[in-house]
Symmetry: C2
Subunit: 426 residues, 2 copies
C-alpha cells in the first residue's frame, strides 16, 4: 500500500514536518511555517521538549495562568493553572478571594495507599492455590528487593500482598493484590516494575510446584479510593446569606441525584483539578479516570462535592482520590513544571493533593454560584468575547468599541460579528 509512510519515527523532526505538510496540506510551505513558528528560539530548550515523547514536531501551547489568593491550611498560595477554557482561572481566583477572609480552604489527607494487581488464571482447587500463595508470599516479595530498595529508604515500599478470589466473576480468575506506599512519587513505574517481577517469580514458583497458573497481566490501578484528600470551606450562614445557602445546597443535591447534572457538575470540578495536575506535571488521564470512577462507586454516578448547613455554619466540601507525584516523571524535567512546583513551595505529594482538591472545590463553588445567580453564560460569554474578537481579527480600536457596546448585552458570535462588520462598513 503506497499510502503507508514507512519509517516515520526514524526521520528527523524537519523531515517529519516536511513529509506531513507535503502530503496533507494545500500550502505546504505555509503549514511548515506554522509548525516552526512554535519552536523555541533556544535550541537546547527545544531539544528537551522534542524528546519528551515520540514523533514530536512542535510545542502545543496551553495557557499557563495564575490564580492568586488561595488560602490553604493557613498559607497563602498562588495556584498555577494550565487550561485553555476561558473563565476557569477567573472563577478560581474569585472563589479563592471570597474564601480568603473566611478561613480559607482546610484540607485533610485520609490515606495515600496505591494498588496494583497480578491478574491470573488458576485451574484447580482454591485451597491448593491459597496454600501455595501463603507458602511463596515471602519469596514473591523478596524478589522485588532490588526494585524496592530505594523506595524503602524514603519510607515507602510494598505494604501488603493478598490473594483475591475473583473466580465467582470470571472462571478461574484470581488476583494478587499488592498495596504500595510511594511517598512523593506517583509511582506508576515503580509499581509496575514490582508487579511484573512478582508475576515472573510467581510463574517460576508455580511451574516448580506443577501448578497451572497463567498470568494474564500485571499492572497498577488508577482507581485509588484509598488515596483520598478532603478540602472544605465554611462560614457562618449569615456571611453567605440563608437564601443563597439553601439554593446552593439544592443545586448540589440535584447534582447528586441526576446523572446528567452530576457529569457537568464534576466536569467543572475537573476544570480546576486538571489545570493544576497538568501544571505540576502529573497525568491528568489517570487522575480523571480514578476520580470519575470514584464518583460512580455507589452504583450511580454522583456529585463529588457536598454542601450542607450544620449548626448555622455553611460547609462546602469535596473528597477526591488523587495519586499525585512531586518527584519523578515530568516534575524534574519540564522547566515550567519545575517552576510551578517552586511557586507552590516545592510541595510534597500530600500538599499537592491539598492544592489540587482545593482548586477543584473553588472551581465548583464559582460554577454553582454563577448557575444559581446570574447564570453561567453572562460571565462565560464576557470572557469569551476576546476570543471571538481575535477570531474576527479585530484591531485594538474595534476591540474596545465592541467590549463597550456589549457591556450590558447578551453576547453571541453572530451579534459580535455583525457589530464588527458594521464598524468596518462605517
Amino acid at each position: 500500500m503506497s499510502e503507508i509512510i514507512d519509517g516515520f519515527s526514524k526521520l528527523s523532526k524537519e523531515e517529519k514536518v516536511k513529509i506531513i505538510c507535503d502530503k496533507y496540506f494545500k500550502n505546504s510551505n505555509a503549514s511548515i511555517k506554522t509548525i516552526k513558528d512554535y519552536w523555541n528560539k533556544n535550541s537546547k530548550i527545544q531539544k528537551l521538549h522534542d524528546e519528551f515523547t515520540e514523533n514530536t514536531i512542535s510545542n502545543f501551547y496551553m495557557p499557563l495562568s495564575i490564580a492568586p489568593n488561595f488560602l490553604i491550611d493557613g498559607e497563602f498560595l498562588a495556584i498555577p493553572m494550565v487550561i485553555e477554557e476561558s473563565s476557569v482561572v477567573a472563577a478560581a481566583a474569585s472563589s479563592a478571594k471570597f474564601w480568603s477572609n473566611k478561613g480559607g480552604f482546610k484540607t485533610k489527607i485520609f490515606s495515600t495507599e496505591k494498588v496494583g494487581h497480578v491478574h491470573f488464571e488458576f485451574e484447580g482447587k482454591k485451597k491448593i492455590l491459597i496454600d501455595f500463595f501463603n507458602s511463596v508470599k515471602d519469596k514473591l516479595l523478596e524478589s522485588t528487593s532490588s526494585i524496592t530498595k530505594n523506595m524503602k529508604k524514603r519510607g515507602g515500599g510494598i505494604t501488603s500482598a493478598d490473594l483475591i478470589d475473583k473466580s465467582f466473576e470470571l472462571r478461574n480468575y484470581y488476583q494478587i493484590e499488592v498495596k504500595f506506599e510511594t511517598i512523593d512519587s506517583m509511582g506508576a513505574n515503580f509499581i509496575n516494575s514490582c508487579l511484573e517481577q512478582i508475576a515472573e517469580t510467581l510463574k517460576k514458583l508455580a511451574s516448580n510446584a506443577d501448578l497451572k497458573i497463567d498470568v494474564i497481566m500485571s499492572i497498577l490501578s488508577n482507581y485509588v479510593p484509598m488515596c483520598i484528600v478532603e478540602s472544605s470551606v465554611s462560614c457562618s450562614i449569615d456571611e453567605i446569606g440563608v437564601e443563597f445557602a439553601n439554593k446552593f445546597i439544592k443545586a448540589v443535591e440535584i447534582a447528586n441525584s441526576d446523572v446528567s447534572r452530576a457529569v457537568t457538575h464534576n466536569k467543572g470540578i475537573m476544570n480546576g483539578v486538571d489545570a493544576v495536575v497538568i501544571a505540576t506535571g502529573n497525568d491528568f488521564r489517570a487522575v480523571a479516570a480514578g476520580v470519575h470512577a470514584y464518583a460512580a462507586k455507589d452504583g450511580k454516578y454522583k456529585s463529588l462535592s457536598k454542601a450542607e448547613i450544620i449548626n448555622d455554619t455553611f460547609k462546602f466540601s469535596i473528597r477526591l482520590p488523587l495519586a499525585l507525584g512531586t518527584v519523578g516523571g515530568l516534575t524534574n524535567l519540564h522547566p515550567l513544571v519545575k517552576w510551578c512546583h517552586e511557586l507552590l513551595g516545592n510541595p510534597n505529594a500530600k500538599k499537592l493533593m491539598s492544592c489540587v482538591a482545593s482548586t477543584g472545590l473553588a472551581q465548583n463553588f464559582a460554577a454553582v454560584k454563577s448557575l444559581i445567580t446570574t447564570g453561567i453564560q453572562k460571565g462565560h460569554m464576557k470572557m469569551h468575547l476576546l476570543n471571538i474578537l481575535n477570531q474576527l481579527d479585530a484591531n485594538e480600536k474595534e476591540k474596545n468599541l465592541t467590549v463597550k457596546f456589549f457591556k450590558d448585552k447578551k453576547i453571541s458570535y453572530h451579534d459580535v460579528a455583525n457589530f464588527i462588520k458594521n464598524l468596518r462598513l462605517k
Copy 2:
C-alpha cells in the same frame, strides 16, 4: 490581610510575572527568565495566546506529535496528538500500522444528540404543572428564535423539549429537558444560551399564571449517551493467532469485571482520546466526564472496549459518547489547532468523532497487547530512558552509551543514574 494580592488580573503580563516571582521564588530573576523563555518570539502570536484565558503569564508546552498510517473508513490519515506521556504516540502509531493492512478502522455514528436542562422546583399538583407546560411549550421555544436562527440555517437547533418529573428523587424537583442538534459545533454556548432564555421565559409565564416555579439553574449536560460513535477493527483469527486472541479477550473481560482494572484500561483509551481532543481544540474535561460516566452507566464501572471472536473473526471495538466541535471555540483561533484540523482534512464533527474513537481503540489495542505479551514496562521504560537521561543532563556520548548498555536490561532511574555516575567517574 496583607498577604492578599489585590487587582492581580488588572496588572500587565510583565507585572504579573514580576509580582509572583518576587513573592514566591528564591531567585526572582531566574524564575522570571524561565517564564520569558517560553514566550513566542513573534509578539502577534504571543498576544493571541495571552488572550485565550485570564491571568496568563506564559505558554505551557505540551508535545504536538504525529501518529501516521491510520486507515479510518478507507482513508489514510496522520493523527495529531497532544500528550506529554512517553510511549503513547509510539503505541498509537504501531497499532495503526498493524491494522492498516487488515482493513483498518471502521466507524459508525449512532446519533449526535445533545441535551440540557432547566432544573426547577414546583410546589403544587403535578397535573397543573403538566397542563401549564403543554400550554406554554411553544412560547418557551419561540423565545429562543433569535438564538437558534443561525443554527437552524445549518440544519440544527432544538429537537425536543419535555417536562421530566424528578420529584420522586428530590422534593418538588422537575426538569425541562431540551434536546439539541448542533451539527459541527460542540454547542455549549449555544445550548446554554437557549436554556437560559427558556428559563427566563418560563419564570415570566409562570408568574403570569400565578404558579410557584423556582428555577434553580439552567445548563447543558456533558453526559451524552445519545451522541455515540463506534470504531472497530477485525481480522481473521489466523492473522492474529488463536492463543493471542483468546488471551486478549480474557484481558478485556477482566477489565469488564474488575473496577480496578477497568479504570486503568479506560485510562489507556483516554490517552488516545484526550490527545486528539486537545489537538483539535476540544474540551477534554467535558469528554472525560461524559466518557467515564458512560462507562458506569450499568451501575458498575466497566471497560469501554469489547473483544470477541465471531465466526473465526477477531473483532475489537469501542463505543464512546463524544460531543465534539469542528467549528467555534478554539478551533478557529489557535493556529496549531487549525493546523491539526487541516491535517485531518478539515473534518466535520462526525468524522472527528471517528478519528478520536479510532485513536482511543488503537491505544487500547497496543496497551492490552503489551500487557499480555512483554508487559508494559519494557516498552514504557525504554521510551522513558531519554527522559531520565535528560533529567541527569547527559550529553550525547553518555546518552548513546547508556542506551546501548540498557538495550537488554531493566531500566530504573536508580540504575541509569548509577551508570551515568560511573561513566563520569572514569
